[in-house]
Amino acid sequence: MTPLVEVRNLKQYFPVKTGLFKTEYLKAVDDVSFYINEGETLGLVGESGCGKTTVGRTLLHLYEPTAGKILYQGTEVNEKNIHSMRQKMQMVFQDPYSSLDPRMTVEDIIGEPLDVHHLCSSKGERREKILHLMELVGLNAEHATRYAHEFSGGQRQRIGIARALAVNPKFIVCDEPVSALDVSIQAQVINMFEELQEKLGVAYLFIAHDLLVVHHISDRIAVMYLGKIVETGTADDVNYNSIHPYTCSLMSAVPIPDPDYTRSRKRIILQGDVPSPLHMPSGCPFRTRCNHACEKCAQEMPPLTDRGNGHMVACWVK
């Protein structure tokens, strides 16, 4: 079976001027491969600066990839076909405050993708589609003529999702869609993502730093560190049977809202900070903070190897 979306050896380097005539390359995403099946959710986690947002944006060609391939149902996504591909792949952004045009009504925001892709033959049809989309994400019909600033964060995120759904995509990149929302609202939006997936069969690339949220929503999870995927597998495998030392410390660092559990577990506190992506350590990027690092880690980047059940880990030691 061909996966819905496949990424092969994706690289995304950004030029950074470090001197008058000197340009260095920041390797935001370095040789990343993964796949997403139809109707599935892949969670992408990692700390700030690890390249997870860049992966999401490059997938939709918001950045031109430096190298590597993005395949949608086996067809390569490139500059020429990206316009039509965006009917199948869409994105929901992190900040529901800045990602909606303040001068457009809700109806126009949701209707814009319909216009861009010429999906409606008449005004009546357009209106009908918009109202249907609004109903789908739990907005009332009378909200259609209002402006984005009249809504709360959770409702704005619903507008953003309705806009992404307008072209009836098969795949949505969700870039931190709940992290700007209040705790009591997050569950509403997470549930909506899950319900929409059941109803419409869309697949998600769910990018977030909140590991509990990602674990809850994802079928599989990929963990990134400094532009590389270090571990990937089913959500339960990555959470409960983590192998890579970085994943282990990440999981043990998550504050769990359960006093007895969280105080009884053993925590692995990492020393130091994430190295600058401009001056990446040789070999395994995590070795400078790793308790298990050996000589080989400094020489060569470990490849992802299968540890059973599709649980891939890139580590020489573990």
Partner: protein
């Protein structure tokens, strides 16, 4: 009686006077803090948790004013103090660390300038002595090469490092109380773990009391002895960490705990709290949570619930508990 508490907040009311009218951010908050205690204040945006903390420090914005209540520090009401007395109090007795370590340090002065300023202002140390103390403090918060760091500017440090500098500054005069307002919200998980551990170990070493203000129930569960849950400027529930998490007695707390992903509900659907966050410009007459509560009763709409003791470690302000207690009594008779 009151003197035995390090800090005692009594019926605190704080309002902001804006163009849109008076905003009642804190409406009758009372709590006590004892030496060596870690108290967590949890709530979502607009719950009044930060304003409560700022009221204690008296660092409200110009439009904000404490309109009622007392804040007793070792028995003295500091709402009556003048600016000079407050200047001595801040830093020496109570310090605060803010959410965003990127903006709370001055970008045009070195770390050393800023740390030494705090030390010379609040202690008798001057010159070389103050500098030595600054380096000591940086070592205390786990920054290596302190002498070099003192010469650096904030932009040269990472987020976690900057938050460590903020903590060092707050600890400069060994305060009795450290207020941490969302100290780790802007940081990554692994850095958050470092900072939380640092606060915990420093608290043990120096025996100070900590007020931890946050929206993250995970952080609260990990750090705090006692917890206050706030909603709409009022305290809806207070108790020990175990009581709040395992035996919540306010509909808001119950809903909050149900709605967040946890280790044991990964395969289940989350139960969200309905509705939208409260608009504090337009507070309801009764319980602040009534508009979003599934078990809302008539009385909830019109009257603010009284605080009822559930047991010696636990109090909640919800009419449901009053109703249950009444029914139990009725059943017994």
């Amino acid at each position: 009686m009151e003197d035995k508490h390090l800090l005692s907040v009594q019926d605190l009311h704080t309002s902001f006077f804006t163009d849109a009218g008076e905003v009642h951010a804190v409406n009758g908050v009372s709590f006590n803090l004892d030496p060596g205690e870690i108290l967590g204040i949890v709530g979502e945006s607009g719950s009044g948790k930060s304003v409560t903390a700022y009221s204690i420090m008296q660092i409200l914005e110009a439009t904000g004013k404490i309109t009622g209540g007392k804040i007793l520090f070792k028995g003295h009401d500091l709402t009556r103090w003048n600016a000079a007395k407050l200047d001595k109090f801040r830093g020496k007795n109570v310090s605060i660390i803010f959410q965003d370590p990127m903006t709370s340090l001055n970008p045009v002065f070195t770390i050393g300038n800023q740390l030494i300023e705090a030390i010379t202002l609040h202690t008798s140390r001057k010159g070389e002595q103050a500098r030595k103390r600054a380096a000591e403090l940086l070592t205390l918060v786990g920054i290596n090469e302190p002498e070099r760091r003192l010469k650096q500017y904030p932009h040269e440090l990472s987020g976690g490092m900057r938050q460590r500098v903020m903590i060092a500054m707050a600890l400069a005069c060994e305060p009795d109380i450290l207020i941490a307002d969302e100290p780790t919200t802007a940081l990554d998980v692994t850095i958050q773990a470092q900072i939380l551990e640092l606060i915990q170990s420093l608290q043990k070493k120096m025996g100070m009391a900590v007020i931890l203000v946050t929206h993250d129930l995970g952080v609260i569960a990990e750090m705090c002895d006692n917890i206050i849950v706030m909603y709409g400027g009022r305290i809806c529930e207070r108790g020990t960490a175990r009581e709040i998490f395992y035996n919540p007695k306010h509909e808001y707390t119950k809903g909050l705990i149900r709605s967040i992903p946890n280790v044991n509900n990964m395969k289940e659907k989350l139960v969200p709290i309905a509705g939208t966050p409260i608009n504090i410009l337009n507070l309801p007459k009764g319980c602040a949570f009534c508009a979003r509560c599934d078990n809302c009763m008539k009385i909830c709409l019109t009257e603010v619930p009284e605080e009822l003791s559930i047991n010696k470690d636990h109090k909640a302000s919800c009419w449901m508990n009053v109703k249950e207690a009444f029914e139990e009594q009725g059943g017994a008779k």
